[in-house]
């Protein structure tokens, strides 16, 4: 081991009031190394990171020892503490969108760090910042120095944060979930950048994450935390190959591995279903019926949002959110709609339910024209197509009991009343593996996974044929994500549901879907059976997307090709008269289509 660790934490304990959230954590981190602090929400990993920088609120009680080189961080106060921050250690945060001050120029915010810790003149500081910008691959650095954060994309902002954190050449970089909020291709770029910078500068990196895939990509050592305790620590290979703790094993089991399901076209559960839960005779045929008329067919769907500007709010352009999207979904089938933020996948889902009004195209559901339906017809359609949203915190009314939330749709659609309603609510709760007694409690009394189950129960209340799941498991911790995914698969088996599964998470998509459609800039660029799309991606964008997905296996750490300059997302905004070209598709395999051209 190297003589002097960059960071030495011994018996760190953090308490808020009487609650201890970090319960005696010790570890060391050497120069040039990356230590991943892994855990799910509430594990105390972020609190640990913040306590190193002494950024916890005043009422937090911190004991133990934190040594940054020679400095005892817990002994510092006032000016000395201020001087240590940014100089001895830099930090980047999870939310690039809110971590930069919106009213200050980006370059100045970086230069500020230099101002506090060096004697550089203004112009020298500027030159240094431009150099830093180039090192973190911000294109056109000189111009962007004077721009404000809102003109930067999330990935670009995170690069600015990295430049800021590294400005004073600290020996330690603390990265608190730095890529969690980013799209997967951007995440790959940022991870590459961090690795490269680390090689150049020899900075030690403390990397906080919940994503074992990311851990496998970057960590030298791993520290697994749960409920404030360290469960296991060791070199990354050892943790992945021979996890010692059950929890670590669970975490690893829950991590989807891309390409593992190549052999089958059918969805694959995370954990096998206990035999006693499998109904003796499934209510409906669980397998999709290929020849019958599709349950849902979408043809040439176009949804655009107006952009207004100029005098008198003239209509100056359109966001081409969904541009000529066509697909079909059979009974009992899951079609995954994948793509990165802004690609139009959510808008597609909402357009089908007419939560936003599409501009053109046709949507047929079970023989009915959805876009022409009005009044009772539309209500009936909305009864049979249900939607589950991403944010289980946001999609339940915080002031409504769970039972009432589940009963309300039945009440509105006059499906049940009185004690019959009671019974149905109870059975729905049991159906999603919750205690029927939960009905009288409020959403905030449940965990995220439980809330998502409640949302599923509410969706099932109307006995739908199709469920549109919009990033339904994306916000959940990995272990919960696995459970909810399994639940969705069980429900499909039992009830013959069709899913339109909208997600950016390729790993979950790989398990749950029969077929995949990849969206980019409002269009489907590739669609086909799951195994075909994942096994032999044919569109350049699909290839890029799949290449960016971190693989949860340190042995398979790939040598990425580094083209250096980052790419800003292309904008789907077009001027008013813009006529998009018709997409032309080429069939590359049975049912596997790829868009021609860009």
């Amino acid at each position: 081991m190297s003589p002097e660790p960059v960071l030495l934490v011994e018996d760190l304990r953090v308490a808020f009031g009487r609650t201890e959230v970090v319960k005696g954590v010790s570890f060391r981190l050497d120069a040039g190394k990356t230590l991943a602090l892994v855990g799910e929400s509430g594990s105390g990993k972020s609190v640990t990171a913040l306590s190193i920088m002494r950024l916890l609120p005043e009422r937090a009680r911190v004991t133990g020892a934190i040594r940054l080189g020679e400095t005892d961080m817990l002994a510092l106060s006032g000016e000395a503490l201020r001087k240590a921050r940014g100089k001895k250690a830099g930090m980047i945060f999870q939310e690039p969108m809110t971590s930069l001050n919106p009213v200050l120029r980006v370059g100045e915010q970086v230069a500020e760090a230099l101002h506090y810790h060096t004697d550089l003149s203004k112009s020298a500081a500027r030159a240094e910042v431009l150099r830093l910008f180039e090192r973190v691959r911000i294109p056109d650095a000189a111009r962007r120095y004077d721009e404000y954060p809102h003109t930067f994309s999330g990935g670009m902002r995170q690069r600015v944060m990295i430049a800021m954190a590294l400005a004073c050449k600290p020996r330690l970089l603390i990265a608190d979930e730095p890529t969690t909020a980013l799209d997967v291709t951007i995440q790959a770029e940022i991870l590459d950048l961090l690795a490269e910078l680390q090689r150049e500068t020899g900075t030690a990196v403390l990397f906080i994450t919940h994503d074992m895939g990311v851990v496998a990509e970057i960590a030298d050592d791993v520290l697994v935390m749960r409920h404030g305790d360290i469960l296991e620590q060791g070199p990354v290979r050892k943790i992945f190959s021979a996890p010692a703790h059950d929890y670590t094993r669970d975490l690893l089991a829950a991590v989807p591995r891309l390409g593992d399901m190549a052999e089958t076209d059918r969805p694959v559960r995370f954990r096998p279903r206990p035999a006693e839960q499998i109904p003796a005779s499934p209510r409906r045929d669980p397998a999709p019926t290929p020849d019958a008329e599709p349950l849902l067919s979408v043809d040439g769907l176009v949804t655009r949002f107006k952009v207004r500007g100029g005098m008198l709010g003239r209509h100056t352009g359109n966001v081409h959110a969904v541009e000529g999207v066509s697909f079909a979904l059979r009974r009992g089938e899951t079609l995954a709609l994948v793509g990165e933020s802004g690609c139009g996948k959510s808008t597609t889902g909402r357009s089908i339910l007419r939560l936003v009004e599409p501009e053109a195209g046709a949507v047929r559901f079970d023989g009915q024209d959805v876009l022409k339906a009005e009044g009772q017809a539309l209500r009936t359609i909305r009864q049979r197509i249900q939607m589950i949203f991403q944010d289980p915190y946001g999609s339940l009314d915080p002031r409504q009991t769970v039972g009432s939330a589940i009963a309300e749709p039945m009440h509105v659609h006059k499906i049940a009343r009185g004690s019959e309603m009671e019974d149905r609510v109870a059975s729905l709760l049991r159906r999603v593996e919750l205690d029927p007694g939960s009905a009288t409690r409020f959403p905030h009394e449940f965990s995220g996974g439980q809330r998502q189950r409640i949302c599923i129960a509410r969706a099932l209340a109307l006995d739908p044929a199709l469920v549109i799941a919009d990033e339904a498991v994306s916000a959940l911790d990995v272990s919960i994500k696995a459970q909810v995914t399994d639940l969705l698969l069980d429900l499909q088996d039992d009830l013959g549901l069709s899913y339109l599964f909208i997600s950016h998470d390729m790993a979950v998509v790989e398990r749950i879907s029969h077929r995949i459609a990849v969206m980019h800039l409002g269009r489907i660029v590739e669609t086909g059976p799951r195994s075909a799309v994942i096994g032999s991606p044919s569109h350049p964008y699909t290839q890029k997307l799949l290449a960016a997905v971190p693989v949860a296996d340190p042995e398979k750490r790939r040598a990425r090709k580094r083209d250096g300059v980052a790419e800003e997302l292309r904008s789907p905004i077009r001027s008013v008269g813009f006529k998009p070209e018709d997409a032309v598709y080429r069939e590359v395999g049975p049912g596997h289509f790829v868009m021609e051209g860009a």
């Binding site: 920088m53 506090y116 800021m164 008198l312």
Partner: protein, 313 residues
């Protein structure tokens, strides 16, 4: 930005039209008769009829409305029923006094309220916070005439620092400042109270933002965190409140004007109301609406100064 301003002014015209129409008819359902006010209680029915005719009050209301609109379009707001002088002239006579008073009160209010609010937020739930909050509540709860009379008793009678009648006759800047001091302070008390409160809560919110944590993580000293990073961000709600309450300030100025015997719009409109001076009331309402519209516009423009994300489209 010019386009934005023009568009807003376009909306202002619509608002103005709506206000004018509303005011015109509201005023006419007001009980009370201007001719009685003008002629006094001994006037004969004949004089009253003659006067009504001369003022055009004998015509149907819709005709009066059309004539009024026609005049308004030509920029003619008519003449005061009571004084016989052009409404515009009467308003312009006192407008500078009101603007002077409101502006100084506004500046005073912000100058007092902003640091107080920041001080309270930074020392949340400690003595300075309690002191600031209670003092600002005093400012909020005291009707302007109460604080005004107290100010007069203390500063004009006991200390003899300022005149009781601050009529605005001063010729030198110093005289004018002396005249203005007490009324402006009186009016500023309410503004300062509002500003303190909104600054405090806005500052508390801003201080919990991620970018403040970022600033601390890069080693920014507390002063820089507050003044460089937090202040500008916390100004948006402050500007909103200042804009919103500027109207209230102007409305409140009537009490201050009465107590300190200053000329101003407030007294003019109360006078017009007491005399049922229809044309004057109409003109005054236009002025008030214009002021509010302009203040709203100004507020929006100030947002742009503070926050680079705001764009005028």
């Amino acid at each position: 930005m010019l386009g934005f301003v023009l568009r807003r002014l376009g909306f202002a015209v619509i608002t103005l039209f709506a206000v004018l129409t509303l005011v015109f008819f509201v005023i006419r359902i007001l009980p009370g008769d201007p001719t009685l006010v003008i002629l006094g209680d001994q006037a004969s029915a004949q004089s009253i009829a003659l006067l009504r005719e001369r003022m055009g009050l004998d015509q149907p209301v819709w005709l009066q409305y059309l004539q009024f609109l026609g005049g308004a379009l030509r920029g003619d707001w008519g003449t005061s029923l009571v004084s016989g002088r052009p409404v515009i002239q009467e308003v312009l006579n006192v407008l500078p006094h009101t603007l002077e008073l409101t502006f100084v009160a506004l500046v005073l209010g912000v100058v007092l309220g902003l640091p107080a609010g920041i001080w309270a937020a930074v020392n949340r739930n400690r003595i300075p916070d309690y002191v600031t909050r209670i003092v600002s509540l005093l400012g909020l709860s005291a009707p302007a005439f109460v604080s005004g009379i107290v100010l007069l008793l203390v500063f004009s009678i006991m200390l003899r620092w300022f005149p009781v009648i601050s009529g605005g006759q001063g010729t030198t800047l110093l005289d004018r400042a002396r005249d203005l001091a007490l009324p402006a302070i009186n009016l500023a008390l309410i503004m300062a109270a509002y500003v303190t409160r909104v600054t405090r809560s806005s500052m508390l919110e801003v201080l919990s933002q991620d970018y403040v944590r970022t600033a601390m993580a890069k080693g920014a000293p507390a002063r820089a965190v507050v003044w460089r990073h937090a202040l500008r961000n916390c100004l948006i709600p402050v500007v909103t409140v200042v804009g919103l309450y500027l109207g209230i300030l102007i409305g409140n100025s009537v009490l201050t004007e009465i107590v300190f015997n200053r000329p101003g719009l407030g007294k003019l409109i109360v006078g017009a109301l007491n005399q049922r001076d229809y044309t004057m009331l109409q003109g005054m309402m236009v002025i008030y609406t214009l002021i509010v519209v302009l203040v709203n516009l100004l507020t929006d423009l100030v947002y742009g100064f503070i926050d680079p994300r705001v764009q005028y489209k």
